[in-house]
Structure formats: structure tokens, C-alpha cells
């Protein structure tokens, strides 16, 4: 996998269960017990209806590209030397849209509505990020 010098997220009480699930390579998101919708990013209340009860639910791992951008210049940022970096917004099958990176794709696979699947990048002992690859049948 392409190396990217990544700025690291802060792990808090609101998101520690999420980051534990990605470390286990079995990403879960909160699904509201009231409206049954998923939301992203993790937080103390349902973004859709305000309910404060949820169930951490395993993701199917599939989604489609909502948009993408290939970053070619990033002067002054920690990943300055790692460009080009492909940034994607992925609409998960469960509904939420997440920002991530796409790896190991062929020309033509970087396209809006293209199907992708979750992969995991273990950045260090604490942080594993959700990243994506093309979904090939």
C-alpha cells in the first residue's frame, strides 16, 4: 500500500468504540435504536433524530464513490512528499458518506458511482483507518 504520512485523529469517549472496531478490522458504526439510521462520524447523539441510544453495528464493507480528487500538491503538509494521493468520498451501503483514500485501482475504476470495498490501514498500534479498494467481482 502507498505510504502516506498521516496526521492522526484524537481518540475520545465519543469514538473509542469505532476506533477499536477498525483496529479489529471489523468496522462498526452507530445505528440509531429509534430511527434505525446509521450515522458518521461517531458521536453522542443520532445525527438524524437526536436519539441517545444506539447499537454499534458491523458494516457490510461496500459502498460507491460519491466524488473523488487526486491531490498532487500539498506543500507544507505532513504528506507533502506522498502525493499523488487519491481522496474519495464514499457513500456506504448503510447510508453515511465518509472521506477516505482509494488504493490499488486501475484507470477507469476511479469514477463516481464505482463500487468500492473497505480495507484497513494500520497506521500505528492505536489507529487503524478505513480505506478503500475497487470492488472486483
Amino acid at each position: 500500500m502507498q505510504h502516506i504520512t498521516r496526521p492522526l485523529p484524537s481518540i475520545t469517549q465519543d469514538n473509542e468504540d469505532f476506533w477499536r472496531s477498525t483496529r479489529e478490522h471489523a468496522a462498526r458504526l452507530q445505528r440509531c435504536n429509534a430511527c434505525e439510521k446509521f450515522w458518521y462520524y461517531p458521536g453522542p447523539v443520532c445525527h438524524n433524530c437526536g436519539a441517545r441510544n444506539w447499537t454499534w453495528t458491523l458494516l457490510s464493507g461496500v459502498g460507491t464513490i460519491y466524488s473523488y480528487s487526486v491531490l498532487e500538491r500539498a506543500k507544507g503538509n505532513p504528506y507533502e512528499e506522498d502525493v499523488p494521493i487519491t481522496i474519495v468520498l464514499v457513500r456506504l451501503a448503510e447510508g453515511p458518506v465518509v472521506m477516505s483514500n482509494l488504493f490499488d485501482y486501475e484507470p477507469g475504476e476511479l469514477a463516481i458511482d464505482a463500487e468500492v470495498m473497505i480495507d484497513y490501514e494500520d497506521v500505528n498500534d492505536e489507529v487503524t483507518l478505513i480505506v478503500f479498494r475497487p470492488a472486483r467481482r
Binding site: 485523529p9 462520524y41 500539498a74 507544507g76 472521506m99 497506521v123
Partner: protein, 391 residues
């Protein structure tokens, strides 16, 4: 008769690369120029609005007032909304003047993005305006955010990069007529498309400049400035904010999503108050952090149909002498972009145009001007419609 707030004075500091002045020096220079333009003294100012942006203290607005010798204020605010701050600030100042809270409100901003920071850190600093936990780890920079917006726009409307480029080309035509603009050489669509990709589909010439500079305006009650025949009217003003994380913007709600922004909400309020329609607007200074920022606003404000802003520009409508000249000073793309306060230059330019003081680039018909400001990947907006002085 009810008090009516007007723009009494405007000021700018030197713009572009200003190595000889500190940020504080730039801010104070712009402030004093605006106070002088209004025919007031520092002692007349009883309200201040400044967005601390990249400055060291969350109380930077107080530090600026202290530097100017304004001891007692009855309003001191920060409108922390990035690029949209200085449009929202006019709305806040107008309410303060019309309610009797203040007599003269100073709105001022200034940054040293070109010569004041370690190279590249302007972009880094901006990252704090976006999410550090779920976005920045994936190498999102400001141009990448707007690249994601632009790519989705191109997909939804079957448009291409040349549609974006048209905005940069038209803006440069205006800048060529502004002797103070940083970039004045004419450019073509091919020049834009041949400039390096920063974050696809955005090329370098789709991106705004990084500059030093500051600007200021004074909001007062009608009839109280040095020369009421130069007082610019605020005919209508509105604001609207949506979300913060890019994915949340994309999920959208109701009629709005990433490429169908809430600037229409701000615009409708401004148009309604002004009693004007988009077709009746003489000129528009549209916040142009990137070419795509202008594209979505032209459409969402109703100046052209969705998906047609590139064509609208290609047909010359936003050029000098066009149906709707856009960014007559050269905008953030070609004039100067000193960070969050860059949008103030759209206001100072509109005031010059409405007063008939814009020199070589004076628009022929200048009864009104729309000015927008935007920030945070087209999620925060303020829209003002200003009117020429009542003679």
C-alpha cells in the same frame, strides 16, 4: 423615522506581498483609512467586529481596538465563519446601528498569508477550519475539498474542466483593469488547463492567490458621515450555513447537498429585502476561493440555470461590459486573497463602483451590486445587495 444603517467608509491596506508591515500594522492601516473615508475619528467608533482567523489570540478583536485606542465598545464580536465572516459582520453591524446599540461599527480584517508565515503553512492553518479526526488523516487540503466539490459538479451536470476555467479567464479580464491587482496578464482557457493540477480537477489557475493585506468598513446611521452623498445603502442582506464535514454536506437534506448549496437561502432573503430579482442586479462580487465556488453560487443565486455557469461565463456575461460583471476588482483569483478577510475586497470594490469611483473599471450601470462571501467548502454564506448613494 427609523434609523437606517449605511456603509459610511471603506479602507484597504497595501495588498499582495507586504513584507514591510505586520498583520497588526495592516489591520490598523485599513481601519484608519476606512474611518477617515467616513469622515469620522477613532473616538466615534463604539463597536468592532474582527474575525481572529489565523491570529494568535481569540481576543484579537479586542487587541486591535486597544491598538486603535477604542476603550469602551458596546459591541465587540468575531463572527467566526471564515470567509463568510465579513458579510455576516455587516448584517450584525446593521442590526446594532438600527437598534441603537452602536453609532459607528468598525469591521476590519487583515492577514499576512504571503510573507508572514512559513511557506505553505497558510494552507496548514486553514486545515483547522476543517475536520482533523475524520478528514485530515486522509490528506484533505483546502484545494482537495474543493476538488471533491468540483468533481461531483462536473459529474452531475456533464460539464468539464473548461467550464471551471471560464471563471478564471473572465476574472483575469477584470483584474487587467485594476492597477493594484496581483495578476493582470490575460489568460486563456488553455492556460488554465495547462497549469499544474493542484487537486483534480482543479488546476493552479482555478485556485485563489495567497496574499497579504487587509480591509475595513464603517457602518453608521444614514446622514451621519462626512459626505452623505457617498453613503452606500444596504438594500438587503441574508446568511445561511449548512454543515461542516464533507460527507455530511454530501448526504444533504431536502433540496440541498454538496453541489446545491444553501446560498440560495441567503440570496432569497437579500433579494426579498431589496425588492430586486437576479436579472435586475447590475454587478456581482462573488466569493471566488476557487472557480467552482463561483460556479455553484451563480447557479444557486439564480443568475443562470443549474449546470450552465461555465457557458454563462463563456458567453461573456460576467466579463467587463457584460450583463453581470463579476468580481470587477479581479477577485481572490487575480486581485488578492489575504485569507478570511479576502472577501472584504468584494465589498470595498462594490462601494467604489456604487459611488462611481472605480476609475478605469467603472461599470456603466451601478445602481446596485450583489456581494457574496463564502467559506468552508461552500457551506457558509452571506449575501448582500448594496445600493448606490441616494442623491
Amino acid at each position: 423615522m427609523a434609523t437606517r444603517a449605511i456603509i459610511a467608509g471603506i479602507g484597504e491596506s497595501p495588498l499582495g506581498k507586504v513584507p514591510g508591515m505586520t498583520a497588526l500594522g495592516i489591520i490598523v492601516d485599513a481601519a484608519l483609512n476606512a474611518i477617515e473615508d467616513a469622515g469620522l475619528t477613532v473616538q466615534d467608533i463604539d463597536g468592532i467586529i474582527l474575525h481572529p482567523a489565523f491570529h494568535v489570540s481569540p481576543r484579537y478583536h479586542i487587541i486591535v481596538a486597544e491598538t486603535l485606542g477604542i476603550y469602551v465598545k458596546t459591541m465587540a464580536d468575531t463572527t467566526m465563519m471564515g470567509g463568510a465572516s465579513y458579510g455576516v459582520a455587516i448584517e450584525r453591524a446593521k442590526q446594532a446601528v438600527e437598534s441603537g446599540l452602536c453609532k459607528n461599527v468598525l469591521i476590519v480584517g487583515g492577514e499576512k498569508l504571503a510573507t508572514g508565515h512559513v511557506s505553505g503553512s497558510a494552507m496548514m492553518a486553514s486545515v483547522g477550519a476543517h475536520n482533523l479526526d475524520y478528514e485530515y488523516p486522509f490528506a484533505a487540503t483546502i484545494p482537495a475539498y474543493y476538488g471533491l466539490l468540483a468533481q461531483r459538479y462536473l459529474h452531475d451536470y456533464n460539464a468539464d474542466e473548461s467550464d471551471l476555467a471560464q471563471i478564471a479567464v473572465a476574472t483575469r479580464k477584470h483584474a487587467a483593469r485594476n492597477p493594484n491587482a496581483t495578476m493582470r496578464e490575460p489568460i486563456s482557457v488553455d492556460d488554465v488547463l495547462n497549469s499544474p493540477i493542484i487537486s483534480s480537477p482543479l488546476h493552479r489557475l482555478d485556485c485563489s492567490l495567497v496574499s497579504d493585506g487587509g480591509a475595513a468598513y464603517v457602518i453608521s446611521a444614514a446622514g451621519t458621515s462626512k459626505d452623505p452623498s457617498r453613503e452606500v445603502e444596504v438594500l438587503g442582506i441574508g446568511q445561511a450555513q449548512s454543515y461542516y464535514h464533507m460527507g455530511q454536506l454530501a448526504e444533504g437534506k431536502g433540496d440541498h447537498d454538496l453541489v446545491r448549496t444553501v446560498v440560495d437561502v441567503a440570496g432569497k432573503r437579500a433579494f426579498s429585502q431589496a425588492g430586486l430579482t437576479p436579472a435586475e442586479i447590475n454587478m456581482a462580487n462573488i466569493y471566488d476561493s476557487f472557480t467552482i465556488t463561483v460556479i455553484v453560487q451563480l447557479e444557486d443565486l439564480g443568475f443562470c440555470e443549474r449546470g450552465t455557469a461555465g457557458k454563462f461565463a463563456a458567453e461573456g456575461n460576467i466579463d467587463p461590459g457584460g450583463k453581470l460583471p463579476v468580481n470587477t476588482h479581479g477577485g481572490l483569483l487575480s486581485n488578492a486573497h489575504p485569507g478570511a478577510c479576502g472577501g472584504m475586497l468584494g465589498f470595498t470594490e462594490a462601494v467604489r463602483q456604487l459611488r462611481g469611483e472605480a476609475g478605469l473599471r467603472q461599470v456603466a450601470k451601478h445602481d446596485n451590486a450583489l456581494v457574496s462571501s463564502a467559506s468552508a467548502v461552500a457551506s457558509n454564506f452571506s449575501v448582500s445587495i448594496l445600493g448606490a448613494p441616494i442623491q
